[in-house]
Amino acid sequence: MAPARDTPFRSADMSMVQLYISNEIGREVVNALGELGLVQFRDLNGEQSAFQRAFTQDIRRLDNVERQLRYFHAQMEKAGIPLRKLDLDVETLAPPTTTDIDELAERSQGLEQRVSSLNESYETLKKREVELTEWRWVLREAGGFFDRAHGNVEEIRASTDNDDAPLLQDVEHNNSAPDVERSFSGMNIGFVAGVIVRDRVAAFERILWRTLRGNLYMNQAEIPEPLIDPATNESVQKNVFVIFAHGKEILAKIRKISESMGAEVYNVDENSDLRRDQVHEVNARLNDVQNVLRNTQTTLGAELSQISQSLSAWMVLVGKEKAVYNTLNLFSYDRARRTLIAEGWCPTHDLPLIRSTLQDVNNRAGLSVPSIINEIRTNKTPPTYLKTNKFTEAFQTIVNAYGTATYQEVNPAIPVIVTFPFLFAVMFGDFGHAVIMLSAALAMIYWEKPLKKVTFELFAMVYYGRYIALVMAVFSVFTGLIYNDVFSKSMTLFDSQWEWVVPEGFEKGTLVARLKSEDYRYPFGLDWRWHGTENDLLFSNSYKMKMSIILGWAHMTYSLCFSYINARHFKRPIDIWGNFVPGMIFFQSIFGYLVMCIIYKWTVFWFDPANPQQPPGLLNMLIYMFLQPGFIDIPLYPGQKYVQVFLLLLALIQVPILLFLKPFYLRWEHNRARAKGYRGLGERSRVSALDGDDEDENGNGRHSVASDDEGVAMITQDLDDEEHEEFEFGEVMIHQVIHTIEFCLNCVSHTASYLRLWALSLAHQQLSAVLWSMTLGPALKTTGIGGAIYIVITFTAFFCLSCIILIIMEGVSAMLHSLRLAWVESFSKFAEFGGWPFAPFSFKQMLEESEELKEYTG
């Protein structure tokens, strides 16, 4: 009979396959398989370094193209041209042919040259422009100095020529030479004019002063507009300076110093007419340069915006192509035979699909040599491949966060789909909050497509778990109705089972309720009459605590049953008789009994007027059951003594069974097999194909491995395989001891751990009651316009705080606690988590996970 198809219940059946592909279509085959995303290739060239592999050249070439594309992107960002992002949901890229890729490489090469030459000339021109601008400023500012300086040449001369002149002489001589020649050249004074960064002015002045010992006259002015440094594209503040000094050597020195300080020295003529000509010339040149500059920039912008249209698609294509060649590098490549041999894991039930894909590629290429796919036997552990859809994906993710399930064991995510949201809801039980959460979840699902594009990280996380939120909210609506809580208020859906006993002439005082009728009970959830009473918590705490224990017991029993299913599936009966059965009896005889007692106690009418009885405390009963077996504090039912002693003994007997049965059975089995002359598989030899046994392949030579008949039935030595280990009794025994101790202690601690259900639901309810009494509660008592305004304000506060604290914060905390209950309390009962994840070669996955390509895909 054909095996059942893969279900999410277990990880998919996996096969190790071997592919023989003709060299010509290797690239196309890998491309098609990448689109399919169902094969995980193994590295057959483990001993070769990355540089020795066959397709390293192609990868280098693609790396270069990728670098060029990134260069365009950087240029576009610099120019502020927006990138047209690629929406992979809408647009599909046809698988490129080799010529497409060659064309792309050539094109990007050409474009790179063009863009970089444009860039270069742009930079040169820009530099020229800055220089000219600076020169213009120098001319303007220096001209101002000169005009001013001509007025007091005498003063300058006095201060430079005559060092020992008394200071006061200045005043006397000031007007004594009105007709002195108004020229600097006559005084043998030269000058240097230039531009310097404003930050360096102070240092510049100091250095000049020290080296020239004060033999200078410096004048400077700030350039009001910031200038752009062409090298860094940053704007800098600069100053114009003019330094007067006499003597050629000193001038040369000043020039050198200014150059070393990074100042630009410009040629300025002393004569004002010549200077005017210079200004005209500079202006004209500046205009020219600016024109050319504008042209260059528009050309560059046009070029880049043209590139921006298809850059994303190119980037994705190149990324895919690179992944293809990286995969091809994993293949064994036989140059002589021109065949590629690949090995990998794929789901057994998808083999036909892979086969037909190969066929398709072959047909399209029109090749006479068929591609061969061969299933091979191996004793390696297959990877765990759990298929998901958009609903189960998030649930699977929270399970995978804990570990990867062992190959073919029960997928722990299956029960989690219900138990995780349900236990969350037990803690989050409030109808009002649940409805808000439900509408949020429904909104996220309704607007699934547009919201997918939101990249805000926190929202993306919530969006990813939208189906979890949906199930959680649905269950919370249910538990909210059961708890009869809506924003901490109660709903009067049905008739109460209680009525107040009102004495004659009642005015004020304590009232006690009584049952309306012996035959009527509140049909759904908690009776609303409890709401607001003095002993409300007394009742609900007892109820919720007992409920936590019962739900915990049910959850753990349910989880434990999966270990039976696992043992059956793996055909290990000893796990049933040595682990599952004794464990189950142990757990049930203590906690199953406790749950039975809780339920029984509820069903007894203790205050029956005909036969009133004292209700026993169940906690005391359980404690006495262990500490004083046979002693009954207050009886719950007749014959209780014997039942409890029996159950206690039954539980105790399970401990040695748990401890010894499995190890001794395994030893017996092992010894029996040995006595008959069998030996373990791993001890000697095994039949294998290209299994990555390096010793073997090296021995036979890399090329002969490809020979078909030998490759399939080769006897190889496999000593380092992890699976068929030598049987060691001590190790098995230690494992079992640990397992037993852990199991028995965990039965107690895990049951206690479920009390968090009570604690969190109590906290949630009390917190919402406090919020009500602090905001809307008092506001509702006010009247008039002031009261209306007050209500509006407090309602806003109430609603916002409800959403932030009670839904988001409390929700996260309840979720974490529920997650823990799934991970620890439930998974520890059955799941091994000893698998390794299936990571197929898939373009879809690659594009989703690549950070680099993320900015190109919308």
């Binding site: 054909a2 059942a4 198809r5 279900t7 999410p8 219940f9 098609a32 689109e35 998808d350 036909p352 086969r355 037909s356 894909t357 398709d360 298929k387 998901t388 859809n389 189960t392 299956i414 029960p415 789909i417 219900v418 138990t419 269950f475 249910f478 538990t479 059961i482 107040w500 009102v502 009642f506 005015e507 004020k508 005082g509 304590t510 009232l511 006690v512 309720a513 035959d519 009527y520 009970r521 509140y522 049909p523 759904f524 908690l526 009776d527 009459r529 409890w530 607001g532 002993n535 409300d536 009742f539 109820y543 007992k546 409920m547 739900l551 339920i599 509820w602 069903t603 203790w606 209700p615």
Partner: protein
Amino acid sequence: MANGWSIFVGLAVIVAMCVGAWVFAPKGENQVYGTYFTISLPSRPPTSFTTPTGTDETNPLTFIYLSNPPPKNSLWRSSLILSFVSCYLMWAITFLAQLHPLIEPRRSDLRKDYVHH
């Protein structure tokens, strides 16, 4: 109306719902198969999934693939039944806790007009 027997009535209802879930759970292709069928559709005509291609007919695996009936959706089944049972459990616990209550509601802030409601 609602007395101790309601627990068993509720149980019967839930069992009926579970049987209903078992029988009427969405059949046909398990949803998880949807993901990769759509991937491969653009490159190939959909008919190639239902009719074997000539060269593949001799292959035993292709035969298995085609003769295998699509499984019942175990995910729907198990999830629905588990949800029903969990919800029943919670309802039953709440109901039982109020069946023979050991304490009565007690409050002293009631107004005279309210007490008879």
